[in-house]
Symmetry: C2
Subunit: 159 residues, 2 copies
């Protein structure tokens, strides 16, 4: 085996994640202001709440992994406008770029207990952040369709 | 950098994917037979059709990557029962295990043109299969909630 062979390197995983985050940002934008905060199906959370869950994970989780701190899961950010959510989203884009690049390749296989309870290898934690975002964004697609709004193409990840 | 350092290896990616496939299988099972084929929201495809898209990708795509063949995207499998879908799903679980293990670590960074049109590094193609499955399964969660059915926990990936 080639010593440099790798399924993907950390920079590729970062680009992959930020591509998904670009798409999620466009899904947030696609919601009418009122529906972002109020529309739901089957008793589920409105898309704003799903987005706030994502914001409570990504940036704070990376800070915890890099700085080795044991922060708690904090959903106290409760914005009332789409603009506030998008501004926080963009702030986290920078936080993720800054912190992700500080994770050495070795660390991805090391275990880390996130938010005081989720103890997994770092690569599993980060894949979970991405997967959870795709999962909730897919739900946002259904909300948009139910509202008669065409969502962005799933495969378009660039800004 | 440690020469063996890696974000994740191919076996870990396979386990990650099969974990997601276990969960998707349980979501298929959670649908009442009739709703699996008929229920939809906002003009979207019923969950059976979303599942058939996944079945048209995963196994055939891996066979193409490993054998280097240029097969076409084929959605001609049109089952009429949940049992047929689950049987095909389980067959693909074995196909994926068999073929995935034949992809050398080097190949993940090589480009491959899938279904005659999607030319990307192999790791991007495979991440797309997983992401696309999470995306559509998230939509299935909304269908289940709208039907008053509690979906399986997102974080439970074991059989």
């Amino acid at each position: 085996m080639n010593a440099t062979a790798t399924v993907l390197n950390s920079q590729q995983l970062l680009i992959h994640w930020q591509g998904h985050r670009n798409l999620t940002r466009r899904v947030i934008e696609a919601f009418p202001e009122k529906d972002l905060f109020e529309f739901s199906i089957g008793g589920m959370r409105p898309f704003s709440k799903l987005t706030l869950e994502l914001l409570a994970i990504a940036g704070p989780a990376l800070e915890a992994i890099v700085d080795g701190i044991n922060n708690v899961f904090d959903e106290s950010f409760q914005p009332t406008t789409k603009a506030e959510i998008l501004a926080k989203w963009d702030g986290h884009t920078e936080v993720i770029n800054e912190y992700f690049s500080q994770i050495s390749e070795e660390r991805f296989q090391e275990s880390f207990k996130l938010f005081g309870q989720y103890e997994f290898p770092v690569y599993q934690n980060i894949l979970y952040f991405v997967d959870n975002e795709i999962h909730h964004r897919g739900q946002g697609y259904v909300y948009l369709r139910a509202l008669g709004i065409e969502p962005p193409f799933f495969w378009e990840r660039e800004r």
